[in-house]
């Protein structure tokens, strides 16, 4: 990494600018009640060094990227990641899958129930990420109110149980379908809008759902929420708390597998291709005879469906729901998962969901900076690596005999 003096000078200026910029908020802290002022001068040093280093690194990265682009000329050809390569090589594919599944199955027995519980949460985020990935990553519709569908799933189980004593297994599909239905209802008027308006309207929708849950006491019990939601049963078997946790874990493993299977097949279908085309160019897409509203609606409803399912599971896992679990920040976390993983990349979304949920759990010191990091990830990924950690690879179709039989070959 070669740095010229000029670049170092520039970074010094950047660092100075940030010292000035952050001065009131980072350095001064006042207590209006005790009427004291604390001057935190050490923060100046942290900001100066931090911004200097980040500025240098950012520049180095951009220079490298520009050079790589110049060399290849065609920088848009996404290369498969190591993981994807391995998954594709016939010799490795099955051993790898068996290894991962073995690890997943043995996990609760290798580690404590507490660990399994954390893992269950991570698995829930994988499904949420994969669901939102259909909407944002594949179809290119920026949905900032995704959490609303999650809330609809959770509340449908909570309320159906409270009012009609409906069990988990009955509520699970209902939660998913209700969320999908809401997706359709919202999508119908809204999906005609331009991308940025769509983002704002979905954000507004997410907030409306939360505020309604908070204020409509008669319906949703308001901010105090609904408690004593039963965990899922297993053919009427009584389970200890530990066993119930482990049961939830396996349930989520099952759901993740189902989601990956379904989402993968959807992406590699006539519908999935149309979504991708829609993401790239709406007008060309329409000119090719694709009904854009219909395709968007399907993406929206299918994405919402998974959020609804996970919502039901969330209610069952925590046995308690209240509106505070469904704020905009939750949508932002799921969005960060999709963006970090790579838009449209299933493997990428799985990896980033694991990273973003497990890292703050295990590095307690970091958990305070969790949301700060999510914000930074969204910005940094867009600037430095918009294709995500593990970019989606375009599918290729192999032709056995020229112009006659064409065989299918799957990615991911």
């Amino acid at each position: 990494m070669m740095m010229t003096v000029k670049e170092i000078k520039k970074s010094l200026l950047v660092s100075l600018w940030f010292v000035f910029l952050t001065f009131p908020i980072m350095v001064i802290k006042v207590n209006p009640i005790e009427r004291t002022v604390t001057w935190r001068w050490s923060n100046v040093l942290y900001v100066a060094v931090g911004s200097f280093v980040i500025s240098l690194l950012a520049k180095a990265w951009l220079v490298r990227k520009a050079r790589a682009a110049g060399r290849q000329q065609a920088a848009c050809q996404a290369r498969a990641s190591i993981l994807q390569e391995l998954l594709h090589r016939p010799g490795y594919r099955y051993p790898l899958i068996i290894m991962f599944s073995g690890l997943a199955l043995a996990f609760p027995h290798l580690f404590s129930t507490y660990q399994a519980n954390i893992m269950t949460t991570a698995l829930m985020y994988i499904v949420l990420g994969l669901g939102l990935n259909i909407v944002v990553g594949v179809a290119g519709l920026l949905d900032l109110g995704y959490v609303a569908f999650y809330a609809i799933g959770a509340y449908s189980y909570a309320l159906l149980n409270l009012n009609f004593h409906l069990g988990f297994w009955a509520a699970l599909p209902i939660g998913g379908l209700l969320a999908a239905l809401f997706g359709l209802l919202l999508g119908f008027p809204v999906l005609r809008l331009r991308g940025d308006y769509l983002a704002i309207v979905t954000l507004g929708f997410g907030e409306i759902i939360r505020l309604v849950l908070e204020n409509w006491n008669a319906f949703s019990k308001g901010p105090s929420g609904i408690s004593n939601i039963p965990r899922p049963g297993f053919f009427g078997l009584e389970m200890s708390l530990d066993h119930a946790m482990i049961y939830m874990y396996y349930l989520m493993i099952g759901l993740v597998l189902l989601t990956v299977f379904v989402v993968n097949r959807l992406q590699h279908s006539r519908l999935g291709r149309a979504w991708l085309a829609l993401r790239e160019d709406e007008i060309a897409c329409q000119a090719m005879g694709i009904d854009k509203t219909r395709i968007k609606l399907t993406a929206f409803a299918l994405g919402a469906f998974w959020a609804g399912l996970v919502g039901v599971i969330f209610a069952a896992k925590t046995t308690f729901v209240n509106p505070a679990s469904f704020t905009f920040l939750e949508s932002a976390i799921i969005l960060a998962i999709v963006v970090l993983g790579g838009m449209g990349s299933i493997v990428g979304v799985i990896c980033s969901a694991l990273i973003l949920t497990l890292l703050p759990e295990y590095l307690r010191a970091l958990s305070e900076y969790r949301m700060l990091a999510f914000g930074a990830i969204l910005v940094a990924m867009m600037i430095f690596k918009p294709e995500g950690l593990i970019a989606a690879v375009r599918r290729t179709y192999r032709f056995h005999e020229r112009k006659s039989v064409a065989a299918l070959q799957d990615d991911e």
Binding site: I28, V190, V201, G204, E207, V212, L378, M382, P386
Partner: protein, 300 residues
Amino acid sequence: MDYFIELFLSGLTRGSIYALIALGYTMVYGIIGLINFAHGEIYMIGAFTSFIVATTLSIYGFPLAAIVVVAGVAAAIWSSAYGYTVEKIAYKPLRHAPRLAPLISAIGMSILLQNYVLLAQTSDFLAFPALIPEFAFMEPVAHIIGSSDLVILITTAVVMLALTLFIKFTRIGKAMRATAQDRTMALLVGINVDRVISATFILGSALAAIGGLLIASHIGQINFAIGFIAGIKAFTAAVLGGIGSIPGAVLGSLVLGLTESFATGYVSSDYEDVFAFSLLVLILIFKPSGLLGKADTKKV
């Protein structure tokens, strides 16, 4: 009748504050066609900076007049600096990126700034010093309009007038109008578009900072999260008026402020925010070009 007038005036006050923030959205949108999601945070930072500066000065025993001036200037300077920096970091590199990229980056910036203030300061609500005194001459009408309402109305009116003159008559103001109309053309006639964009962010941020200072001292408390709701409401106002249109932003803000004030006064205050969001959703669906905006056909 007094109640009606009270609601009317408080609606105007609300609307004026929305207008100060909405202008930032509308100007940025007019020039680069981006919804600056982080704009609400710029306003929050303006409120925080003025809080920090004002409280520090008052602890060190400065007179009220000096505090008001210094806090106002500091808020404007730092908010502008943040607005400028946000544009350089999060939007400028993405000017030719696919359409989702700058939006996602903007949302990231908004979350980043919120949590930055949360971590560097506090998550508690903080008591904001009363910067606007109760004027003696306001005594007889105090039951329908407070002194701070009056100050807010007058300040906003003055700021709007100054902004109008600025955009009409200064060089950079003219360049802004030209760029908003046709960016490529502006480049061709030798306007430094980067400078115009920076200036727009700086100006919009300074206005938001003034809004932040005024509303914080009006309500009396602040918190790191105030930018979110205020931002959405101001955006609603901007869209209501017709995004990209400066008079539209002011009109939309006043309409939103008044309707909110009457709705909470006569109907119920529980659903105050639901009301604004629903209004936003309805406008975008039924009249996305707003009251004063013009519908445009995208060139293919």
